[in-house]
Amino acid sequence: MSDKDTPFFVGYLPVPKGLRGLLLAVCVLFISGLAGFGLALGVAQDDPGEGAFRFDYGRQTVTGVVELTPYPLLRVTEGNERIPAGHTLMLAGGGKTNVERRAIPLEGQLARASGVLLQRGDLDMMQLRGGRNGLGPAEGVAPELPTEPLGRWKLAGEICDGKCLAGAMRPGRGLAHKACANLCLIGKVPPVFVSSQPVDGHEFLLITGPDGGHFPESAYHYVAQFVSLEGEVERRGDLLVLRIDPETLEVLD
C-alpha cells in the first residue's frame, strides 16, 4: 500500500518539499518548451505578404470600360491619384461573391466603379459597393481598348483566388488557405496565377477557363499547390490574362 511519507501534490495545499524541485523543473521546461515550439512553428511558416484592404485610402471611385473575361474587369480611363488611367482593375463583390450580374449589362460600356481597394504589390482588386453605387453606367462613349495576345506559355507557380491573395485573407495563399480559395472560386471571384518568375514583367496573371469561360471545376484540386501549366496569355491594359489549358496541369514535386 502507499507510504504515508511519500510526498503527494494537492493543488490547494503547500507544495511538499520533496516535489518542489520537480515542479519547478516541469514548469520551466513546459513553458519554455511550448514557447520554443510555438516560435519554431511560426518561423517555419511562409511570409503571408503585405497584401491588405486599403481602407486607409478611403473609398475609391474611377471610370472605365467594363470587360468580361468572363471575370469582370474595369479598364480605367479616368482614374485618380491611387488608380491611374490605363490601369486594369479586377472587380469583386463583398465576401466571396462576384459582380457579374452587375457587370454583364455594362459590357463594353463606360461605367463608374466605386469601392475599397485591395493591394498586394502590383496586384490589386476593387471590392465594389452594393448595387449601382458600386458599378453603374457613366456618360460618354467607350473608347476601343486593345487586347494584345502574347502567345502560348508554360508557367510554374500557384493558383489562388485573387481577392484573398490581394489582401482579404492572411495568408491568402498556400495549402492552409486552399478551402477558402476554392470557396471564393465557387463564388466566381477572379482567380489569379502567381508565377514563379515574372511573365513579361508581371508576377500575377488573371486566370480564365480554356474556352473563355470560368476557371473549370476540374482544376479546383490544383488550387493552392505548386503546379506547372500551359495556356494562352494576353495583355489587357496592365493586366495579363492567362487562359489555361487544364489538361496540362501538373503538381510539381
Partner: protein
C-alpha cells in the same frame, strides 16, 4: 477521383454505415441489452451523432452484451493499461505529424522560368 473526393466518399460510406447501425441499434439493440432504456425513447435521437462516428465500437459492445461475454469489472482495464502509452503517443504523434508535414511540403519553384511555347497568332482588337 482526387484525394478530396476520396476522403468525402470515405466519410459518406462511414456515415451511411453508422446511420444503418444507429437505426437498428436504437430501435432493436438498445432494448435487448439495457433494461433501463426500455420504453424510454426521447433521448435516443441524441445518440445518433455519436453512433455515426463510433459505430464499430457500438457494434462490438452490442456483441459482447448479446453473447454474455461482457465482464463489467474489466470494462475499463484496456483504457487504464493503455493510458501511459497513449499519454506519450499523443504528444509524440502531434510532433511527428508537424515535422512530417513540414518536411514533405512543396518548395516554391523559384528556379522554373516562364517559357513561351509559341508566338501570338494575331493581334485582336
Amino acid at each position: 477521383m482526387n484525394q478530396a473526393e476520396m476522403i468525402l466518399m470515405g466519410l459518406r460510406i462511414w456515415g451511411s454505415i453508422g446511420a444503418l447501425v444507429a437505426g437498428v441499434f436504437l430501435t432493436v439493440g438498445m432494448d435487448r441489452i439495457d433494461e433501463d432504456a426500455r420504453e424510454a425513447y426521447i433521448f435516443r435521437p441524441l445518440l445518433i451523432p455519436g453512433i455515426l462516428v463510433i459505430w464499430p465500437l457500438v457494434l462490438w459492445r452490442w456483441y459482447l452484451y448479446e453473447t454474455g461475454r461482457e465482464v463489467w469489472a474489466r470494462r475499463y482495464d484496456p483504457p487504464r493499461r493503455a493510458h501511459f502509452a497513449v499519454g506519450w503517443m499523443l504528444p509524440l504523434g502531434i510532433c511527428a505529424i508537424i515535422v512530417t508535414g513540414l518536411s514533405i511540403r512543396q518548395q516554391w519553384p523559384a528556379d522554373i522560368a516562364p517559357e513561351r511555347l509559341s508566338a501570338p497568332a494575331e493581334v485582336s482588337q
